[in-house]
């Protein structure tokens, strides 16, 4: 096994009286798609928030490629190569989808021109291809707020991918996507991740998804990681089934 890409050790955080993380250890290995599952409100999203610097843990550390990123702000962590897609899509609603993408492209290249036109940048083709690869190229010239929820979700992921990250963190990547299209979208997404050599962590409630796309599954419950392992093994565990999935 290669060295972990992202390593969390002893994370602790609480909100008011609620303990969301109480000594969480978790590794993300280069090249894998790691799913996090667990009951509602268990703190799965909190893990994404801590790993990206949006929340600071009370104790514990997160290291990425050997560097301690626990106290860094989101933008610094993003620049190190961790991108994030959100449960509720976070887009620039008043701008067109292409403009959204080009902002990401400009951000990736560290562009700070106040003169050259954004849309004249060379990455336009690349961004269009990226949009095409998640199936929303047709919306490129539409303003983001005009898109249906499912398409926004895809653009949200495309925005993260546009950064060419090493690691992509996703929060229920297909929630909001019509159920008939979920598998198709995930197929495309996972293929893209593999092609671009991007590792990923995704929080998920849909066990079919987890079973089909995750290399490993971590079960988050009562503020701790209860088990980590291959989907077949973890999802087969009766205790997990009862506590997490409620079957």
């Amino acid at each position: 096994m290669s060295a972990p890409l992202l390593q969390a050790r002893g994370l602790e955080i609480r909100f008011g009286g609620v303990v969301a993380a109480d000594g969480v250890d978790l590794d993300v290995i280069e090249g894998e798609n790691l799913a996090i599952i667990g009951p509602n409100g268990a703190g799965k999203t909190t893990f994404l928030n801590i790993s990206t610097g949006y929340l600071k843990p009370l104790a514990g550390t997160v290291t990425f490629l050997g560097q301690d990123i626990t106290r860094l702000p989101p933008r610094a962590i993003t620049r190190l190569g961790i991108a994030r897609a959100f449960q509720i899509p976070q887009l620039f609603l008043e701008q067109t989808v292409m403009e959204n993408m080009m902002i990401a492209a400009a951000a990736r290249s560290g562009e700070t021109s106040g003169w050259r036109r954004l849309l004249d940048r060379p990455e336009r083709e690349e961004m269009l291809r990226l949009l095409d690869s998640v199936g929303v190229a047709a919306f490129a010239e539409r303003r983001a707020h005009e898109l249906p929820e499912g398409q926004r979700k895809l653009v949200d992921i495309a925005l993260a991918l546009a950064l060419k990250p090493r690691l992509l963190l996703m929060d229920e990547p297909t929630s909001g996507v019509a159920s008939s299209e979920k598998m198709g979208v995930m197929d495309i997404l996972v293929a893209a991740l593999a092609r671009e050599k991007v590792s990923s962590v995704f929080v998920e409630h849909d066990m079919d998804m987890v079973e089909r796309y995750a290399h490993r599954v971590a079960v988050w419950s009562s503020g701790r990681i209860q088990t980590v392992g291959p989907p077949a093994q973890v999802l087969g565990d009766p205790e997990v089934r009862q506590r997490v999935i409620g079957i």
Partner: protein
């Protein structure tokens, strides 16, 4: 400031702009007193352009008159201590002083958003205003400082011709400033600025420092306010603390919304309507000019959410739809 999807009529827009500039340049030849009025309209339009830039980021400053005043006073102080100068020097001074000021205050205020951003700007501007009033021995207090008529590019104009020279310089500046502002808003930095309005979180998650982006926009807007302030001071031949009072800041935001905060054209359309209404009302309807402006603004907000420019665009779209 419009997305490319909607700028199909950009040729038409250019024609309208050129037509209006030509009109602004020719009218005063027939009506001499309009030279100063149009100069003021264009100069304040430049200021409002600065306010509009911040509105793109969703931030409303109720204190931007402070940069307007800084620009004006920079010119006035020069005239007072160094004697008359050249217009080009005045404009450089005014805009440089405002830029510097904006950079320093900007470092503090870009940490705040929305109402807190507005309030902090207001607070800073009120401190400046109090100082302009208080430091009577340096600023002449409420009477203000006279601004001596400058030369323009080394040429000393007679009073009759000076107002035209100033008008044409101001029109050129207005056009250039609009173009620069437009280019800025179309650039990556400009788009990032607009992104602050709709989703600052995502911007940070693209690895961009929203504060830095906002600071650049803030400084640019301070620059434009200072430039406009210097022009107004020269046109009015005076700088007074009133330039920096909170109602002046409110007036700039007012004009921006009146004209339509989504385009450079809006800044000038709003400024023209505002100044002309006030110009006529101060003479003909002295008792009711504020009333009229207030009602006009409410009507615009209620019935024409995109300002005067919005009305223009809507009419054009309707006309195209009928064709």
């Amino acid at each position: 400031m419009q997305a490319p999807a909607q700028t199909s009529g950009s040729g038409l827009r250019l024609a309208i702009v050129l037509g209006l500039v030509a009109l602004a340049a020719i009218v005063p030849i027939l009506l001499p007193s309009w030279a100063t009025l149009i100069t003021l309209v264009a100069a304040k339009g430049v200021v409002v352009l600065g306010v509009i830039i911040l509105l793109q980021a969703g931030q409303v400053s109720f204190g931007h008159a402070m940069y307007f005043a800084v620009g004006a006073y920079a010119v006035a102080f020069w005239g007072r201590h160094m004697g008359p100068g050249d217009l080009i020097l005045y404009l450089l001074l005014g805009s440089a002083a405002a830029t510097l000021f904006g950079a320093v205050i900007g470092l503090f205020v870009v940490r705040y958003r929305e109402i807190f951003f507005g309030m902090l700007n207001l607070a800073f501007s009120m401190v400046l205003w109090s100082l302009l009033e208080k430091l009577y021995h340096y600023t002449n207090g409420a009477d203000g400082i006279r601004v001596v008529r400058p030369t323009i590019a080394g040429i000393a104009f007679q009073p009759e011709t000076f107002q035209y020279a100033l008008l044409y310089v101001t029109l050129v500046i207005a056009v250039v400033a609009s173009y620069v502002a437009q280019r800025y808003l179309d650039s990556p930095l400009g788009h990032m600025l607009r992104a602050i309005k709709s989703n600052e979180t995502r911007l940070e998650y693209l690895g961009v420092s929203a504060r830095r982006v906002l600071l650049i926009g803030y400084v640019l807007s301070a620059f434009l306010c200072g430039l406009g302030g210097a022009l107004v001071a020269v046109a009015q031949q005076i700088a007074t603390p009133e330039f920096g009072y909170w109602t002046k800041s409110g007036e700039f935001v007012f004009i921006a919304i009146l004209g339509g905060s989504s385009s450079a054209l809006g800044a000038f359309a709003g400024s023209a309507v505002f100044e002309i209404v006030r110009f006529y009302a101060a003479a003909k309807l002295a008792n009711t000019w504020q009333l009229i402006l207030g009602v006009v603004l409410i009507a615009i907000i209620m019935f024409a959410p995109n300002g005067l420019v919005g009305i223009l665009n809507r009419n054009r779209r309707n006309a195209e739809a009928r064709r």
